[in-house]
Symmetry: C2
Subunit: 200 residues, 2 copies
DNA sequence: GAAGCGTTTAACGCTTTAGTCAAACTATTT
DNA sequence: AAATAGTTTGACTAAAGCGTTAAACGCTTC
């Protein structure tokens, strides 16, 4: 973790790029080495095995947005107050790397046993979060909607448009990436508005 | 297409199951054969190659929800009227096979050149759909929100909770699959309500 | 029951891939 | 400049995977 050699960084960069795009099984060590412009065996030198390299990439990816989620679930502040900032950072993260969501979801979906372990490591306590949500529901929400549904709506609105980028880009924005990005940035305002409406 | 032998059906069933779960590269022909309880070579006999088998599975998957989308985008009826039925069928489809969304999104994401071709085959005309949306926006939407954003919201709310099933199940529903399914069914009512609110 | 058809099987060849290892190389320290 | 620790390289091994092929099997038809 601490400091990384230049080659180590190049490896991670290429591994991220390719794993995000083609998945673990779809990417060979050779592919990564070629992309990084270094000898294939160096991957083994620095990361021991493909599994461990993948693990490093996956954890880094998780680390990009789990903390945001965790902060919201555990803080003393209400969801409502958290929403604008959360939406902003999540959308910014996704704009920088749209493929990260599918990458993470795909891995979690094909290897479901990981979830509990990861929750622990990342410091999310489902029981605590649920209790907090329940209390909030009683206090704040007038519409009577389950607070889990509220969370689900929020996250869905933030992430899905990126997970489905190729489809959205093609059908709704006619392949114009500029327009797509502009639209995604607009959502930083749209989503909080929508959530406010939903919570009042 | 027309009629399929029993073995052919078994192959498709196992291929769907495994491709959905592990992806194309993560699934071997042997895996599929074993799962189906038949000799590996039969896959080649019936589908020629792994590529062609995958193609069959992928197209079948696309065929499950593209028609719904296409119908909405092209019909003379307004979105509002379409929403309840669309939400109902989409959610039902997803409950039956939650992994299908990631499977499709992953494939489209790692192989983006496919989109235009598929749109054509599936009979979606982006230009026409956009024009229709624009007209509707002028007529119906008072909030002034871009109709593309409206569509995006609708689809996000419907599909994402399934794409993220492992996470949602674990964090929000504590691993209780029953509760998760109930919640997803509730969304058949929640989402149309929300959209109505959004469009008035 | 022999011929002929589609189906199923096992064996083979070939390519790709992950990982190891010892040798070569580099740079820093003594 | 010799020694040493840390990197980089190419060659090798073993395993996994895809596709082909020829033989075996089973079932209908003549």
């Amino acid at each position: 973790m601490a400091l990384q050699t230049e080659t180590e960084e190049k490896i991670i960069a290429s591994a991220e790029k390719l794993f995000y795009q083609k998945g673990k099984a779809g990417t060979s060590m050779q592919d990564i080495g070629d992309d990084a412009g270094i000898n294939r065996t160096l991957l083994n030198y620095y990361f021991r095995s493909k599994d461990q390299l993948f693990e490093a990439v996956f954890r880094k990816a998780m680390g990009r947005f789990v903390p945001n989620l965790a902060a919201m679930l555990h803080s003393d502040i209400s969801f409502e107050e958290y929403i604008p900032a959360l939406v902003e950072t999540v959308i910014d993260t996704m704009i920088e790397n749209p493929q990260i969501s599918i990458f993470v979801l795909q891995e979690l979906s094909s290897n479901q046993d990981r979830m509990p372990q990861i929750m622990k490591e990342m410091g999310i306590n489902p029981a605590f979060a649920l209790k907090k949500m329940e209390e909030e529901r009683v206090i704040k929400v007038t519409g009577g909607m389950d607070s889990r549904q509220v969370i689900l709506n929020l996250i869905s609105l933030c992430i899905f448009p990126f997970a489905a980028k190729p489809v959205v880009l093609d059908i709704l924005y006619n392949g114009d990436n500029e327009a797509y990005i502009v639209a995604m940035k607009e959502r930083k305002k749209i989503i909080p508005q929508l959530m406010k409406q939903l919570l009042s």
